[in-house]
């Protein structure tokens, strides 16, 4: 019984961490799949959103749900402005310029937040309803982790439905598969990209806010977790929402288990597995082969 409880605890902890990873990375996957744009600054949007959410709650005493909505809107708005003004100039540029540009953006975000808020770490105070423990019948676990897992599954479901059942979703799928053909059919890829970029950045903001409780939130956030976001996206497969979901959960559980049993350098296995997987399937688990 105790063994089962331990096992369930590890699984739930890993799944909740993986869920946050998914919420942050899903937008990155779709925008990279759409435009092939290497946007390393995606984590900076998660950080910006996290700050908006945490500061709104701690300083302005806004409710949790309202703060999440605010974070989504502010970050999406900022990302649209940046996309229209700067990103779009580099769509046809090489990866190197995109890497350089987005690294520059990361530095600007880090410096901006250090100047505006300060270098110290911010903490998220959960609403009391999410604070305690919940009895799941077979195991007692933190309510917040269960909340995250449920929210993540719902988000996955909603995005999947939007992809499969709506016109915009169909347009996104078509563009990821074959951008030129989609453009020939009259799909406005530019507009599509702006919409998904804004939505993806907004989701990253929510992920940044939800994850602030156990990932922490300081100006280095954008760089600290960058490798994890990129692994989730490339392992899952560019442009694949379901792929990022499974890859994130897998990564979350693996990271949790390794940190528990091999606290010193257990992440070696994550990098090694990623390398092997990408050599086996360069397009990721659920990605489509490039045509």
């Amino acid at each position: 019984m105790d063994l089962l409880g331990n096992f369930a605890g590890i699984l739930l902890g890993g799944l909740s961490a993986g869920t946050v990873l998914f919420i942050v990375s899903v937008g990155l996957s779709v925008t990279m799949g759409l435009m092939g744009f290497v946007n390393l600054a995606h984590g900076a949007f998660a950080m910006l959103g996290g700050y908006v959410i945490v500061l709104a709650m701690n300083r302005a005493h806004v409710g949790f749900a309202a703060a999440l909505a605010l974070g989504f809107i502010v970050t999406a708005a900022v990302s649209v402005v940046l996309e229209r003004l700067l990103y779009r100039r580099l769509y046809r540029a090489g990866e190197l310029d995109q890497v350089l540009f987005t690294i520059g953006l990361i530095f600007i975000f880090i410096a901006g937040i250090t100047i505006a808020v300060g270098p110290e770490s911010q903490s998220l105070h959960l609403p009391p309803a999410l604070g305690g423990q919940i009895n799941l019948g077979f195991v007692q676990y933190r309510t917040y982790s269960i909340f995250l897992i449920v929210v993540g599954a719902l988000i996955n479901l909603v995005i999947w439905l939007a992809f499969e059942k709506t016109s915009i979703g169909a347009q996104i799928r078509a563009t990821v598969d074959n951008r030129r053909m989609a453009e020939s059919l009259g799909i406005d890829v530019d507009r599509l990209f702006t919409i998904t970029f804004a939505f993806g950045s907004g989701m990253a903001a929510i992920g940044g806010g939800l994850g602030a409780e156990f990932l922490g939130l300081d100006p280095q956030y954008a760089l600290k977790y960058l490798v994890y976001f990129l692994i989730a996206v490339s392992v899952g497969g560019l442009g694949s929402v379901v792929g990022v979901y499974y890859a994130s959960l897998l990564l979350g559980v693996l990271d949790f288990v390794l940190k528990l049993y091999l606290p010193k350098g257990g992440t070696v296995f994550i990098y090694a597995l990623t390398i092997l997987l990408l050599l086996w399937r360069p397009q990721g688990l659920f990605g489509r082969k490039e045509t």
């Binding site: 100039r89 010193k264 990098y271």
Partner: protein
């Protein structure tokens, strides 16, 4: 930089006829007078700023590291985010050999550092260079992270997070000691190593091999079509680039007398990328200009206010990516060309 591969020996007739283009091609590897300037400046620095020699050695090592990246990224077009893997491999080779008293002779130590990095470069290149684009970017990043975590985990050998302090390195040629307080030996030794490596890289770039690398970068399909062994050349180039980065890392360990995990950091890999691009990649002197500009900016801006440095660097990167894709040298060339046309017109 011309697009297609240029034959090693231009048509002798054309040279004899004195066609300007043929002459330029035949003489493109000749030394120009201004190529002496960076080295004269480096020697001048030694006498003018005796208090800044530690800073100076750091600068020279950054140039060497950026030069190694230029070989892979600028010439062969291999986009990597993990070049610090080789820097770190070299640094830890020198560091561990010296710390455990196995080998502390500096010159052979650097050769061993280059060898260790070359082996890692060859092994990783064999598998990594099958991929391109984002996958390659991710794989180089993960390889570096893997090495860093391994160094962190093998605490018993590498000192883990704390690294290996107080390395004792033998005097160069048994005469010139590495004095931690006065960096004279460190500076001159770094300068000599940089000059040696630079001459090697310069020769390589102007060789048929170097030209074929440029060809691979500019038009992969065409290089395949003319039957060039593309993958083998990329792997060889990657290995040489890794070896050079390893030498830079070994030099870093020797001049600082310590190694730690920062040698394998994403920060270091990103910095060297920024340095090279700031100066202008695919150009022999891009590494020099970039390193001087970067370290000078860092030195002065960070002293004012560390966050201002980060903000300035971020803005600089965004501006370069948007408007000056060929770095400072590229910007200079554009301005010069504009000036020359106007001058000729008037």
């Amino acid at each position: 930089m011309t697009g297609a591969a240029i034959p090693a020996k231009p048509n002798a007739d054309a040279v004899q006829l004195g066609h300007p283009a043929a002459l330029a091609l035949a003489r493109r590897h000749h030394f120009r007078w201004w190529e002496a300037l960076p080295w004269l400046a480096a020697i001048g620095f030694y006498f003018a700023f005796p208090d800044y020699l530690a800073f100076g050695s750091g600068l020279l090592i950054t140039i060497l590291f950026a030069l190694s990246l230029d070989l892979a990224l600028g010439y062969a077009g291999i986009i990597t985010l993990g070049h610090a893997a080789f820097f770190g491999a070299g640094a830890y080779t020198v560091g561990m050999l010296a710390y455990y008293g196995i080998w502390s002779e500096p010159i052979t130590g650097l050769l061993l550092a280059g060898l260790a990095a070359a082996i890692i470069g060859l092994l990783s290149g064999l598998v990594l260079l099958r991929t391109t684009g984002l996958t390659l970017l991710m794989l180089t990043l993960c390889t570096m992270a893997l090495l860093q975590e391994t160094a962190n985990m093998a605490r018993a050998y590498t000192g883990g997070f704390d690294g290996l302090p107080d390395l004792t390195i033998d005097p160069v040629f048994g005469i010139f000691e590495f004095n931690p307080l006065y960096s004279n030996t460190q500076y001159l030794f770094s300068l000599a190593v940089l000059l040696t490596c630079f001459l090697f890289v310069r020769t390589l770039i102007y060789s048929p091999f170097g030209q074929s690398l440029t060809g691979i970068r500019e038009n992969l399909l065409r290089m395949h079509a003319i039957g060039a062994p593309v993958r083998r050349r990329l792997i060889i180039c990657y290995t040489i680039s890794a070896a050079t980065a390893g030498i830079a890392g070994g030099l870093w360990a020797q001049t600082n007398a310590f190694v730690n995990l920062s040698a394998l950091d994403l920060d270091r890999a990103a910095t060297v990328l920024i340095v090279l691009i700031l100066g202008g990649y695919g150009r022999l002197y891009g590494a020099f200009i970039g390193a001087v500009a970067y370290l000078a900016l860092e030195h002065f801006l960070a002293r004012v206010y560390p966050t201002a440095w980060q903000l300035g660097l971020g803005l600089l990167l965004v501006l370069i990516a948007l408007f000056a894709r060929n770095g400072i040298i590229g910007l200079g060339e554009t301005l010069w060309a504009r000036y020359a046309t106007r001058h000729r017109a008037s």
